[in-house]
Symmetry: C3
């Protein structure tokens, strides 16, 4: 695989007009399916019930424009697919400028940006445009055409399961329902695709990986409704992969409890990267569903600029200049480190009573002298001091202030010398808080 391709993949996916449903979603999944061997395609029909939700009609959009009476197209969907309000009903009429105005969406604060607006569950038509474009609409009457359908159809999604030695799962979830937007859409699927390809290439995965490509909100509701029991039983950590393409500082959105394995691994990886920790109250993507109280999966999110916090968010400025190959690669690396940490997050137990005699193994200086190689030796002894069978690598990394990767290397060295051994146990116990909360939720008697 070649991660250099990520930005190219995003460029290829850019023109497809994704939405909750429709051909743009299918085209996107077709493209990704060629990159990810084993991807499985799924769909549910309009009217399908998933928990409290009903799948809406499928939306087909072929064309949309605003034309002056001379036939000049002032606004054209073919130039930017944000121009049409998502899920617009069809229209073909000549209407007054005054009446048209009620169907125009702009951003007064950002006059040159086209906003991204949708109306999935209430039938409307409309155009999104910049304030500059709106100001140029000075005629009395315009022809408005939206060549769309809202008909019974399907909602498409996809997943891939990469089995590991254990049945316990790590979840990666990303969404494929926004049209031409780069950070708050395409960065997610392309980094997730690169992660899927890297994970597929790993010779011996400890955990099973469940990687999900869905339309946001209703997609995760549908997916959960079909897999809830298995996911609650097996998921040890999960991440929403979104907004991972720009090069600004890092963002972290915790799970509901904030102390699951997903949270702990992500924060250990972010420790050496400047980052902002958001409150769970500021969540806004599919962790709303995965972390809902009755679902309660350990799902967090590592992002660059968090959705809703950057000026380009949900506008035409969230484009492929804002998202860079470098930004995508750094995010890939952060998630890869996170997954590697989860894979190696053993609890180790010392095999000797007292400290081992490291000197005879060449791991301790033979000359006792102030200042000689003290830091390295101290790190080794500190690592061992916490190998009591209760602390995992993340905990020891926190306790001794040494990066998780370096702790994994120390564990390898000591394990080779038979000075520590792994404590077998249910990895779910590594995020006990979730399980307790879940058990309470499931066993409390109702009135």
């Amino acid at each position: 695989m070649n991660n250099q391709s990520m930005h190219q993949w995003a460029q290829d996916l850019w023109p497809m007009c994704r939405s909750l449903t429709g051909q743009g979603v299918r085209d996107t999944l077709d493209y990704l399916g060629k990159l990810i061997p084993g991807m499985r395609r799924h769909f549910v029909p309009t009217g399908y019930q998933a928990f409290d939700w009903t799948v809406p009609k499928e939306w087909t959009i072929r064309d949309a424009y605003i034309e002056d009476m001379s036939g000049n197209r002032a606004i054209d969907f073919k130039r930017n697919n944000l121009h049409v309000l998502g899920y617009s009903t069809p229209i073909n009429a000549v209407i007054s400028r005054h009446d048209l105005d009620k169907h125009l969406y702009t951003l007064p604060d950002q006059p040159s940006a086209i906003p991204y607006v949708t109306s999935y569950y209430s039938e409307r038509w409309g155009f999104c445009l910049s304030e500059v474009q709106r100001a140029a609409l000075t005629d009395d009457r315009y022809k408005v055409v939206i060549d769309s359908d809202l008909r019974d159809g399907v909602l498409d999604f996809a997943d891939v399961i990469l089995p590991g030695e254990r049945k316990e799962e790590v979840l990666l979830s990303t969404y494929i329902c926004h049209p031409s937007m780069a950070n708050n859409e395409l960065s997610g699927p392309v980094v997730t695709t690169a992660l899927a390809r890297w994970l597929a290439s790993l010779p011996n995965r400890k955990y099973t990986y469940r990687i999900v490509f869905i339309p946001e909100t209703i997609g995760s509701i549908i997916y959960l409704s079909q897999h809830l029991e298995a996911m609650q039983e097996r998921t040890i950590a999960g991440y929403i992969v979104t907004c991972v393409g720009d090069e600004r500082a890092w963002s972290f959105l915790p799970s509901r409890s904030g102390n699951t394995l997903a949270d702990r691994a992500a924060l250990a990886v972010l420790r050496d990267r400047e980052h902002k920790v958001y409150s769970f109250l500021e969540r806004g993507s599919d962790e709303r569903q995965y972390c809902a109280p009755t679902v309660n999966l350990p799902v967090a999110s590592i992002m660059r600029s968090k959705y809703g916090t950057f000026q380009e968010y949900h506008t035409s400025l969230d484009d492929l200049k804002f998202v860079t190959q470098n930004g995508l690669e750094e995010s890939f690396q952060a998630y890869r480190s996170c997954i590697e940490l989860i894979e190696n997050n053993e609890r180790w137990r010392a095999t000797t009573f007292g400290e081992p005699q490291l000197g005879k193994r060449g791991l301790y200086p033979s000359l006792s002298r102030v200042g000689s190689a003290q830091d390295e030796v101290r790190t080794r002894m500190n690592f061992l001091a916490y190998c009591d069978g209760t602390n995992d690598i993340i905990a020891i990394s926190d306790l001794i202030g040494v990066a998780p990767g370096a702790c994994i290397e120390l564990a390898d060295i000591f394990h080779k010398h038979d000075l520590i051994k792994p404590v077998l146990g249910n990895p779910l116990r590594l995020h006990g808080a979730r399980l307790d909360a879940h058990r309470i939720a499931c066993t409390t008697e109702d009135r």
Copy 2:
């Protein structure tokens, strides 16, 4: 009922010379009994043993004065009942100014204030007066008269039980043993009376209310000695109502553990009121008994100016100008909010998996657009995110930073839509810390 009456009640009660025992207490309870239907009167005789304590003799005070040899009364109990040392033995003698001085109590730091002093458990006689008054006593000899009795009698107190749907109780306790003092006495009984009348008028109380009017310290000892087992079994929260009449900032005195339902509800109510949190080490009223380690009830106190911290405390300056109708009403409202929160402090559990589709219920905007009604919607989703059956309203209010009253309203809306349901359970579990401590205290083996 009419809360406008509170200050009038205090004015009516002002002249009655309350003490640990005696006619002043009976007059006070007679007056309050007319306001509170169902109030029960109780008494115990002199010599009655309550736990480690013995009820002292009943004190009757009819008159007390210091008169010069010309018959002019320099100090007269009839002008201010603080003038006589509480529980003074009788005297009728002419004595030298020098000998008189040993029986005079003044406040050097506050020359115009009369101090309030008592000697319940050691026989003495004395007069309390201002420094100014003392300086005016320039004659060589004075006639001193205290027309009092210390005889076997009774100690009076009262309570009212307002039954609710559940046998679990909320305790309100106030004291009626101080003579003419307004904040550190009358504010307590009159606000408690207003609360009793409001509670009596509630159509469906969830909890039972135990409202107690007692002389401080020995009164709560006696009351506990007669009701300990029931109170330990049933009390989910309790408050000492005292010092609730002035208009300065709010004070909070926690229970011994500091995390009972009484503490949590009070602090939630005080969150939007400027207040000072005192340490339990600074307690000074009947929580000394209710929170004693072997009693260990969840009892806290919301006050305005805390006893012992304001200059007027235990002097003639603690009068009905310092205590205002507005101050009394604000305190009534704070306690009422606190009780309403306890009544509504359910643990709710979401009935849907994932988020419910609020849009179809008119609780979510149909147009997805940055900035539109975000705050209100976010608050709704955040409230639901914590309805996991383990968090009560107080906890959710803390977690999402929304006032408890607003959380109760959200719960009502979601409950009407069947999106949440209450988790039935022992309300005592809401302050588990107390029960644990209590169980330890009761089951530990002695030597």
Copy 3:
């Protein structure tokens, strides 16, 4: 006993050339054995296996010097026993100044100090000297003589057990393996000796005391290998006594968990002494072994200037001017207070319901008056308020902000009045954290 002797003992022990093994250790233990009735001498032979460690050869050092060709001794072991590298192999040769240099150890940053260097587990020879001395070695050739042996022999150590009413033990451990150094060696054995003599003189010790004199690291490994089960079962608190002779500020090194009885008692004693709390990551003496994860004893350390942090450390400047009689006595007092606190660290439970009537016992003022004797009374009531059978003296001292010694006195008064009684229980429960961790370490199944 006479603590005035401590500095004299250190002076007597100063010239003995202690090391891991050898005559200097035996001379030291002979000297201390005369001061401590009941001291038991032990030894293990070269090649003895203790856990992961092997006892090295015994080192005998008789003489060592660097002599110029005229027979003048530039460096002479007889003038300072730090001059010879610890565990040097023998040599007797004339070598070039250039070759000699590879065997010289100095401290460039402290030109007038001789460093202390050892090579226990790798055979070398060498001299330690000041930069000034090295600079004076300007000849081309020198005669170097080290008259030493490395032969099969023994490793010596000693202990004393002072039985108490209970079999639970307090451990004091100090080391006797450094040559002429005062704070980072002799202060430890002499303060420990004074403590042993004081403890032996106590008429009724509650706990048993295990007092250990060992060479550092391998000595505690050997000692643990012979007593692990008993020490894990019985030790309720332990201390490494080292660096207790200078007069600078106090230092505290916690146990691994940081919340054992040893930590809590030490921190209570240090509360009124200016002190620095170090991290367990900065440990460096035998707590490395006692607190190793599979050993996990509750062992901490109260020091003055902590090893490794003072300029004189491991140099000839750590001498008997740096260590003073006053410094030794203050350390003795701190450890004595710590032990007295452990001996008296009961959990008390009030015998009365509500507060007792202290007035009838002369413990409460009979006159109720603002400001009279309030602080003393408040302290009494606060102490009683936490006598709930769960808080030990250390906890109450923390909760009410009163020194542990004063709390012990209050307990005595209340106990005499039968107002509190001790709650019998396993003192090990006072540091439950250790036991839990230990149980986990012992019961977790291996792969």
